[in-house]
């Protein structure tokens, strides 16, 4: 986001230019569009296709899946909304934005569900299937008309559209075909390229017969034409010129691609939402690049399996989410103690316990860093974007192997299913790990010859003549012999800890986004980056001196963060994990439980870091974060 004043003018109704004799065309900087239906009615396919076309036209996009909690919720139910939210912009869109500007709904009940969760902007445009108005079941008619009347009374701009009725001219199963009709509608509404849409439809149905492709292209055309004849709404979002090829994938697919590109060859897992879809894709293709996915009997076994594979060869990975992460902790301690490289990916969801299994939260930072017994140093890093979901597994493997320790990579449910294009990576040979070292160990070398300064040692792998030793989770000396004497135990702890310092020396000072000094610094980590940056830009555009800092490395943290914080009057983290609210009666400075990153920053830098958090299972919205920043600036 560079110029946010432009956003408000461009998105402001009054200033929209009217083209004489033509439908009014509103030029927009960005728009948030939702397409929702009962599950199985194809709203997701429609949304994904619309987003792909937008990406091809050079728009920035961010898409979010709308998934009901149940696999097959009853039809026309308030909790049953299934579909997609797409934010389209003339810039690199880095988050899902605020509430929706336009919603296409296949029935009024799923729409009502979205209204109740606060997903719609006041005055939002609604394109609503109207077949329910003429339904033979009078209860349905009543539900439809009362909802319609209420929405209109509440100021929503509702357009009733005879979707299935029009589709009937082209298909005998309009319920299954109307998603492509809607795609055609949106194509016209947003001035998209119809030819690209035809290609997209052909691609979507590539495995189907020519008849099916044909019928869907007709439906697409019908939607396009219907808008031309009946609706006087038009939007135009200027597209950015882009030189490079991009890939459009969800965070979990990106993660899976990153794992394959990292040279790791074994991924052991146990199914858990929202991590599973990464394993689904990996299971499908990993063997093509010489790897495999092992579905173990539980998370503990998955972690043990990955550790065994790492020990005998190259670094392996285990993917999970919060509850599974908790189960793996004892073995993560073993990997730290015995100094075995291991990558653990935690796609965070709401907790504790089973919590909000399909929704986003950043509740696992402290368990990632401290979650096992004893002192078990590991590196923890967090992906902030879909692109980082690709690159960070490569980094994680490198760190794990260079320093012989566990590396935790945090992503979350928001990144897992969201899609955002990024430049197609150029694969590098050195990402693919070198072959397993099987050379003989020179006489006199010990399996834990810790370097006194860095704590590093050369790992011996089975198969290496002369390297025989028994690796153990018990306290051990340089020869890996069990040792209970006080000095040896401290020697091990010291060297394992030193490795984090050695690694920390390789990190560069993170960059601040916004004013170099000023009234407020907002610090964040993980998937909130795009939202926080956009919010900070909004407030800066109002003349305030604020900035944000986003941390990729949470353990250890780079040097220089303390100095950065000193340049601002106030520092506050914005996170999606629980922090006590100061206006709660019992909460004071003696008992307030801060959010995770705030704890860490306060402890290390002795700075009075405040925190603002939201844990509603939804991605943060730029507008709410901007409001929080304004409040913080006026309060003090």
């Amino acid at each position: 986001m560079n110029d946010s004043t432009a956003v408000s003018t461009l998105n402001d109704d009054q200033s929209s230019p009217v083209v004489a004799g033509q439908p009014q065309v509103r030029r927009l900087r960005d728009h948030v569009i939702e397409i929702i239906s009962d599950s199985g009615e194809g709203a997701q396919k429609c949304g994904q296709s619309f987003a792909s076309i937008a990406a091809k036209m050079g728009h920035g996009i961010w898409t979010v899946e709308i998934i009901p909690a149940e696999i097959e919720p009853p039809a026309r139910s308030i909790e049953g909304a299934s579909g997609n939210r797409i934010r389209v912009g003339s810039f690199e869109v880095a988050n899902g934005g605020d509430e929706a500007d336009l919603v296409v709904a296949f029935n009024e009940q799923v729409l009502l569900g979205r209204v109740r969760t606060g997903a719609l902007k006041p005055g939002c445009i609604i394109l609503l299937e109207n077949k329910w108005r003429h339904h033979q079941d009078l209860a349905i008619v009543a539900a439809y008309t009362s909802t319609y009347d209420k929405l209109v009374a509440d100021g929503y701009r509702v357009y009733e559209i005879p979707m299935e009725q029009v589709c009937l001219q082209h298909t005998s199963t309009p319920q299954r075909g109307k998603n492509m009709f809607v795609l055609g509608m949106l194509n016209r509404l947003y001035h998209q390229d119809l030819e690209l849409a035809r290609e997209q439809v052909a691609f979507t149905f590539r495995s189907k017969s020519a008849d099916v492709v044909d019928r869907n292209i007709k439906l697409l055309q019908a939607g396009y034409d219907w808008v031309g004849e009946n609706l006087d709404l038009r939007f135009e979002i200027p597209s950015a010129k882009r030189e490079q090829a991009q890939i459009v994938v969800s965070g979990n697919t990106s993660l899976a691609l990153g794992i394959m590109a990292s040279g790791m060859e074994i991924c052991a897992m146990y199914p858990i939402t929202p991590a599973t879809s990464a394993s689904h894709y990996l299971s499908e293709v990993f063997e093509n690049v010489g790897g495999l996915v092992h579905q173990a009997e539980d998370e503990i076994a998955a972690c043990g399996f990955a550790i065994g594979a790492s020990y005998a060869g190259k670094c392996s990975v285990t993917i999970t989410s919060g509850p599974g992460m908790a189960l793996k902790q004892e073995l993560i301690g073993l990997a730290a103690m015995a100094e075995i490289p291991l990558v653990i990916v935690n796609v965070q969801r709401g907790g504790p316990s089973t919590g909000l299994p399909t929704k986003v939260e950043q509740g696992d930072l402290l368990q990632a860093i401290f979650g096992t017994h004893g002192d078990a140093p590991r590196v923890v890093l967090a992906a902030a974007t879909i692109e980082e979901c690709f690159y960070l597994p490569i980094t994680a493997r490198k760190i794990a192997e260079a320093f012989n320790l566990p590396v935790v990579l945090l992503t979350d449910a928001n990144l897992a299913t969201a899609q955002q294009p990024f430049a197609r990576p150029r694969l590098r040979k050195d990402w693919f790990a070198a072959p397993v070292d099987q050379s003989a160990i020179p006489e006199g070398e010990a399996p834990y010859d810790w370097d006194h300064t860095t704590g590093l040692h050369r790992r011996f792998t089975p198969g290496q003549p002369g390297g025989m030793h028994t690796l153990t989770g018990l306290a051990h000396d340089r020869k890996s012999r069990v040792a209970y004497d006080p000095a040896t135990n401290e020697e091990g702890l010291r060297h394992r800890s030193l490795k984090l310092a050695a690694f920390q020396k390789t990190l560069t000072v993170p960059e601040v986004c916004g004013d170099a000094n000023g009234d407020l610094l907002v610090v964040g980590w993980g998937s909130t980056k795009g939202v926080i940056e956009e919010a900070v830009e909004q407030v800066r555009a109002e003349g305030q001196a604020v900035a944000c800092l986003h941390l990729t490395y949470l353990q250890p943290m780079a040097s220089g963060i303390g100095d950065i914080m000193k340049r601002y009057q106030q520092v506050m983290t914005v996170e999606m994990n629980w922090g006590d609210r100061v206006d709660d009666e019992l909460i004071d400075s003696e008992n307030r439980r801060y959010s995770s990153l705030a704890w860490l920053l306060r402890a290390r830098y002795l700075v009075d870091v405040d925190c603002w958090t939201e844990v509603q299972g939804q991605p943060l919205k730029p507008r709410s974060v901007a409001r929080v920043i304004r409040n913080k600036l006026t309060k003090e």
């Binding site: 503990i300 020990y311 004892e330």
Partner: protein, 324 residues
């Protein structure tokens, strides 16, 4: 799938003139109690390694936590002394990555049948090529005499001062009840020649060979196995042309002997379930059972450029070209 070794290490046949001796398989000195049954098991595996001329660098002993799980430290091979109950998943990870390594697992009755019980059942089903030795002393040794799932009913321990409440879990019957089993045997530490023979056959079996060994714990359960040692009614020796063949001198020590075809699963289950007269020998063997690593190792070794082209093809699926 993987190319396990890209640097050749000398194979046994190159080493005729410097063949491995028993000493090569000795690690640090054993700290087990005097007369502990684990010593016999250690000797048996060291003997196996020497007889089979296993390259020490190609051999890995994996264990959990317990007295019995100390065994890897006493070997001159590679060893992985993991966590309580977690030896099997670690061993599976090693084997999938490195089918070229000889993998052994040593585990206690608490380690295998209690905290690691889930892994145990699944390991049987994965049937990866490894030898699993269950040191069944029917007590928790390392943590000083607590009741174990295999402790007989009534056994007095520090956590069952009035006697164990339940009937014991029977590791042989449990294993034989699993699917995809391929090798199940029962041995005792006090008949070392039979122990050695069984371990040898277990090692040569392709698949997961599960050997349950009655192991004496002189410290906490001094006379616990005496009835089996003294009373000829309590054991039956299983022999067969396709199973164990025992020298007459040894066989004569057993009043009850049975010709048991190790392919006969029904009889194997009957023998396993007879707590009055426990079997000694190979209860079940089926060399044709599917091994997990075989069905998962379908992909040929790929060069880095092959991998890169395969990955590029994946990227193609998701690529959006810039607007023209």
């Amino acid at each position: 799938m993987f190319d396990p070794i890209e640097v050749l290490s000398p194979s046994v046949s190159d080493l005729d003139d410097e063949a491995y001796s028993l000493d090569d398989f000795e690690g640090v000195d054993s700290r087990w109690c005097h007369r502990c049954g684990n010593n016999a098991i250690l000797t048996a595996v060291q003997k196996l390694c020497a007889e089979e001329q296993l390259a020490p660098e190609k051999t890995v002993f994996v264990s959990g936590i317990g007295c019995s799980s100390r065994l890897p430290h006493y070997m001159g091979t590679y060893g992985f002394h993991a966590l309580h109950g977690r030896a099997l998943p670690v061993a599976e990870g090693i084997k999938i990555r490195r089918p070229d390594l000889h993998v052994f697992v040593t585990t206690g009755d608490g380690d295998c049948c209690s905290i690691g019980a889930g892994h145990w059942l699944h390991a049987i089903r994965y049937n990866m090529n490894m030898t699993v030795l269950l040191h069944d002393n029917q007590i928790y040794g390392l943590t000083k005499k607590q009741v174990s799932p295999t402790s007989p009913r009534g056994l007095v321990s520090n956590t069952s001062p009035h006697g164990a409440h339940l009937e014991p879990l029977n590791p042989l019957a449990a294993t034989l009840g699993m699917s995809n089993i391929s090798f199940v045997a029962h041995a005792v530490d006090w008949v070392p020649s039979v122990l050695c023979d069984i371990i040898k056959q277990a090692f040569h079996h392709r698949g997961l060979a599960f050997v349950c060994i009655m192991q004496r714990c002189p410290n906490y359960l001094p006379d616990h196995f005496e009835e089996y040692i003294k009373d000829p009614e309590r054991m039956v020796l299983l022999t067969h042309a396709q199973g164990l063949q025992v020298e007459d001198a040894v066989a004569k020590r057993f009043k009850h002997r049975e010709e048991h075809d190790p392919r006969d699963i029904d009889r194997a289950r009957e023998l396993a379930n007879n707590r009055e007269r426990v079997p000694l020998g190979i209860l079940y063997r089926n060399p044709d059972v599917l091994c997990y690593e075989d069905v998962r190792a379908g992909v040929e070794h790929l060069s880095v450029s092959d991998k890169i082209s395969a990955l590029e093809r994946e990227f193609d699926k998701f690529t959006v070209q810039p607007p023209s």
